[in-house]
Amino acid sequence: MSEPLVIVDGVRTPFCKAGSQLAGLPADELGRIAVDALLTRTGFDPGLVDEVIFGCVCQPVEAANVARVIALRAGLPHGVPAVTVHRNCASGFEAVTTAAERLQSRHGQVFIVGGTESMSQVPLLYPETAARKFAALARARDLPAKLAALSAFRPADFKPRIALKLGLTDPVSGLNMGETAEVLAREFKISRQRQDEFALRSHERAIDARARLAEEICPVYLPGGKAGHAVLEDNGPRADESMEMLARLKPVFDRRNGSVTAGNCSQITDGAVALLVMGESRAAALGLKPLGRLAGWAYTGCDPARMGLGPVSAIRKLEQATGRGPGEVDLIEINEAFAAQVLAVLQSLGDVPQERLNVNGGAIALGHPVGATGARLTLAALKELRRGGGKWAIVSACVGGGQGSALLLEQL
């Protein structure tokens, strides 16, 4: 077995609902803040980093290869290369496992990995017809030609395409993410009631864990007024969440017969996570005590129309490779893309002890900045193992487009 990857430390920005406190910060800025906070709190010499690997689904167009932009802006030397990875909702995991692969193939020992997403800043697009007409206008040389080009525009040309919506729709199955959750709710006969209960659980646990979670969060400082403003907390979890409030919400993806609402699915959120990872021997040589070790991982594919079941195949594959399944670990994280989807996974697996699942709340309460979530789950599980004295954790997520992802973590 080649050198294992250890996770030395990590930090994340607060996770805030899209359109709220972090909406003004593009993904590269969020990532920079997380990496800067990581370097500050660890005192680690950025010159020792071999590569920066960041997950991001909606990369800002002005910051192509957002990982590189983040690395340079966070003060890493020019000589440290960087790459951005994208496996939809598992991009954060992908960053960690890519580092492990680099380590194994001897392409580096020390990495800063993570994920970042600003879902607030996903752009609105002009339709393709408008783009063609703008280009024609730019080419027009004289006034008559310009007027002719202008007159070609129609109102429909100005109807924006909402890229966020488009991004959350799988082009192969034709279903958006919520619709795939409805498929599972129907097929697995998961009632609205059960979904809302699960959602409430997520909020309750997240509220309960507030003080614990604060340890992994770095402040984001926003200018303004005389005193500026420090964002210190996730703003997704609701202390006042209740079954009544959840029951009042209308289904979003299937108005007439659906059960998936805005309350029982993950929130659309902005945030970034940064982890310091390295080969186990390098950590020892540097005198660092890691949080834990990456003991295995699995990516699988499944039917895009039922993408929510991804964790089932991934967790089974991970079990085959490592000998550890849900029954043999102390903590399990299954990303709460949708309550219906998690419940379907639980039904399929059958052996997940509820009291070990998402113990500090999940994406329904905390939010799901798609590129960053995997990194958050990794960090959160390791921190909770450390706190609770546990040894093993499985963290997993379903992936839009029909994939599953799962990592096995060992506390050190």
Binding site: L39, T40, P223
Partner: protein, 693 residues
């Protein structure tokens, strides 16, 4: 040895390269001008065009030889001025294209050469600075600059540059028409050749337009100038006339006007003192600490305290390329500091000091910390927390435990003892004072204060650090108030007492504005804050009880919440844009106060106190030399620069006169005016502070 090399390029173009031997700079002394004249002889024999360029890495031509200006008198100086004018006029009259290829500092006489050329091409490098700063030295551009610049860019533009003594980066110079094009360094010569071959001769600005603009712009500029300078800077009205009146005369007459003006101005003490200030600045830039080895570079610093000073220091350092960790006790304090830094950067972008990208890059270099963090990799920590000794000691002893061995531990304290702080740590040799002035982005002076145990190496690293961030250091021995606050305090206290005894605040301040201070002492007290002023006065009164005291009026005003600018009211009322004397302040006067001395008497008292205290700083070795005290007061307190500083001013009066005047005031008002020992001795032996006074 040659200073100018001549080369023939393709198609008979002539390249004249300035490369002064054994010097980092090119300057115009008489020899260089004569050499240039000779080279022009060759050029007139059939060159297709001429390009002037420099071989120095960061300097085109840095102006006229200041040494000549200082030492030549009367006729010799006249000849020197005429020489420059004649040679440049010859270039202007050449019947072939002439191009100045500018990279690096191109100021004063260096830019006047460029003005005589047909075209000016420059690089947009950081080192490239273009302008006419002569008025800052108490003279005016007299080698054709005052004549040719208005004819190139118009009277209002020329007035702005010449009266302001401005030097600009290339992009700004291009915008104003001072240069014609910008080229990358590697292509400067090529670009210049292109302009030489293809440049179309420009139409001269019409004299008629200039007459009109001169008629309108000049009186406005004159009024503004007089309001600002109160007639204390003779170079400015002369420069104004040279530009505005010269624009309406023939070139020959205008040049004659320049010549006569500069000869008058060069003889003034203002000019001599301003050149002295310039030399003090150069001295500060090269300051070295005796007994120190080669100082380590500071690349990564931390500032403890995100308050007004801490955040301003962090912003300045980050703008200069350092990574800065800014730490405070909680997120609220850090947030306020980050907000202040954002505002400072926004303001810099607004004032075109930097662009958006530079501002963002600077902000990226600030790492906020609301909890304790490792200090690995830090070369320097600057503590800028609250002015309380026990808190500072706690911070320092914690730093002593956690910071790497080589890290320098500095404090920005304005009043507390460096020595005492040093005693609180295991390694006092690495403790030093690095004292910035408020506002950090405008005040160039930084006091580097050595405690009793501070090592020479630590002080040297601090001095080098200050120089590296574009500030000017003065080395000070640890004593209450250090240098600048020590000298300012008795002056500000006296101002408060004059007010307390019945004088009007505006009159007290006017007395010192008339002297040449940039701001009156009571206005300054308001700006600094009544609370801060009282704090400093208390510290100094404790340190020097025989001649310093805390004026009661300050306490009275503080008790009623009159803090000065920060609370909106003090001696003045600070409104949006307008500041007026506070009529309400009258009731804080001493009972029965009705003494109203005239301005001259008040000015005399306040100035004498500064002089006396500055002399004490020499007597007590607070600074090594009179030049240090004068430099500190000019750059840190704005002491009338054209007077050369309090000790240079004392020399102009003579120690005997100063001592006698102090004794008079002492007899009238008490021992705080008693002349110090040094002044007494100097008056008896007829000594001066400066050998060349």
């Amino acid at each position: 040895m040659e200073s100018i090399h001549s080369e023939v390029l393709e198609n008979d173009a002539r390249l004249l390269t300035f490369d002064r031997p054994e010097s980092a700079a090119n300057i115009f002394d008489a020899a260089t001008l004569l050499e240039l004249n000779e080279k022009l002889d060759e050029v007139e024999q059939g060159a297709a065009g001429v390009i002037f360029i420099s071989a120095k890495p960061a300097i085109f031509i840095a102006g006229a030889d200041l040494h000549a200006l200082e030492t030549l008198g009367g006729d010799e100086l006249r000849k020197f001025i005429e020489l420059g004018q004649d040679v440049f006029s010859r270039i202007a009259a050449l019947r072939l294209p002439t191009v100045a290829a500018i990279h690096g500092a191109c100021v004063g006489g260096g830019y006047e050469l460029c003005l005589a050329c047909q075209w000016r091409i420059a690089t947009a490098d950081r080192a490239t600075k273009i302008g006419l700063p002569e008025t800052q030295l108490g003279i005016l551009p007299a080698w054709g600059g005052s004549t040719r610049l208005p004819r190139l860019i118009g009277v209002p533009g020329a007035l702005d540059i010449i009266l302001g003594g401005k030097t600009l980066p290339a992009k700004a110079a291009l915008r104003r028409g001072m240069i014609d094009d910008i080229a990358p360094r590697e292509l400067l010569l090529e670009a210049s050749l292109k302009w030489m071959r293809e440049g179309k001769p420009r139409r001269r600005r019409l004299q008629a337009i200039d007459r009109v603009t001169a008629a309108v712009a000049a009186p406005l500029a004159r009024r503004r100038m007089e309001a600002k300078t109160r007639g204390l800077y003779p170079a400015l009205p002369k420069a104004l006339d040279a530009v505005a009146l010269g624009a309406m005369e023939s070139v020959a007459d205008s040049l004659r006007r320049e010549r006569e003006s500069v000869l008058e101005l060069a003889a003034t003490p203002e000019c001599r003192n301003l050149i002295g200030v310039f030399q003090l600045q150069e001295r500060a830039k090269k300051l070295r600490v005796p007994g120190a080895g080669k100082p380590a570079a500071i690349r990564h610093a931390a500032v403890i305290g995100a308050g007004v000073m801490g955040s301003a220091i962090a912003q300045w350092l980050s703008a200069r390329g350092l990574r800065v960790l800014m730490r405070d006790i909680d997120a609220k304090q850090v947030a306020a500091g980050m907000s202040r830094i954002t505002a400072l950067y926004a303001s810099a972008v607004k004032n075109r000091i930097m662009d958006r990208k530079e501002s963002r890059d600077g902000m990226d270099r600030v790492s906020p910390a609301a909890t304790e963090t490792p200090l690995t990799g830090l070369d320097l920590v600057i503590e800028a927390a609250v002015e309380k000794m026990d808190l500072k000691k706690k911070i320092f002893s914690r730093l002593d435990e956690t910071a790497p061995a080589a890290t320098i531990l500095a404090t920005n304290t304005s009043a507390l003892s460096i020595t005492e702080l040093g005693a609180a740590v295991g390694r006092p040799d690495r403790v030093v004072g690095i004292h910035f002035f408020n506002p950090v982005h405008r005040m160039p002076l930084v006091e580097v204060i050595m405690g009793e145990q501070t090592s020479a190496d630590t002080a040297a690293a601090a001095v080098r650090f200050v120089q590296g961030i574009g500030k000017m250091p003065v080395l000070v021995r640890d004593s209450p108030g250090f240098l600048v606050n020590r000298i300012l305090l008795p002056y500000m206290v006296e101002a408060a007492e004059l007010f307390a005894r019945g004088a009007e605040a505006a009159e007290v301040d006017a007395a010192m504005l008339d002297f040449g201070m940039p701001m009156g002492p009571l206005r300054l007290t308001d700006e600094v804050g009544m609370d801060v002023a009282e704090d400093v006065a208390t510290t100094l009164a404790a340190g020097f009880p025989y001649h310093m005291h805390v004026p009661a009026v300050l306490g009275r005003m503080l008790d009623d919440g009159l803090l000065g600018k920060k609370s909106g009211r003090g001696f003045y009322i600070h409104g949006k844009g307008k500041t007026v004397p506070n009529p309400d302040a009258a009731r804080y006067r001493d009972p029965g106060a009705q003494v109203r001395p005239d301005r001259a008497a008040m000015q005399r008292r306040m100035v004498l106190l500064m002089v006396n205290e500055a002399a004490r700083c020499i007597e007590e070795d607070v600074v090594a030399e009179p030049a240090d005290a004068d430099f500190g007061m000019i750059m840190g307190a704005g002491f009338a620069p054209f007077r050369g500083g309090p000790l240079r001013y004392a020399d102009t009066l003579g120690a005997a006169a100063v001592t006698a005047a102090l004794r008079e005031e002492a007899a009238r008002s008490g021992s705080q005016f008693a002349p110090c020992q040094l002044l007494e001795e100097m008056s008896q032996t007829n000594r001066k502070f400066y050998a060349n006074s």
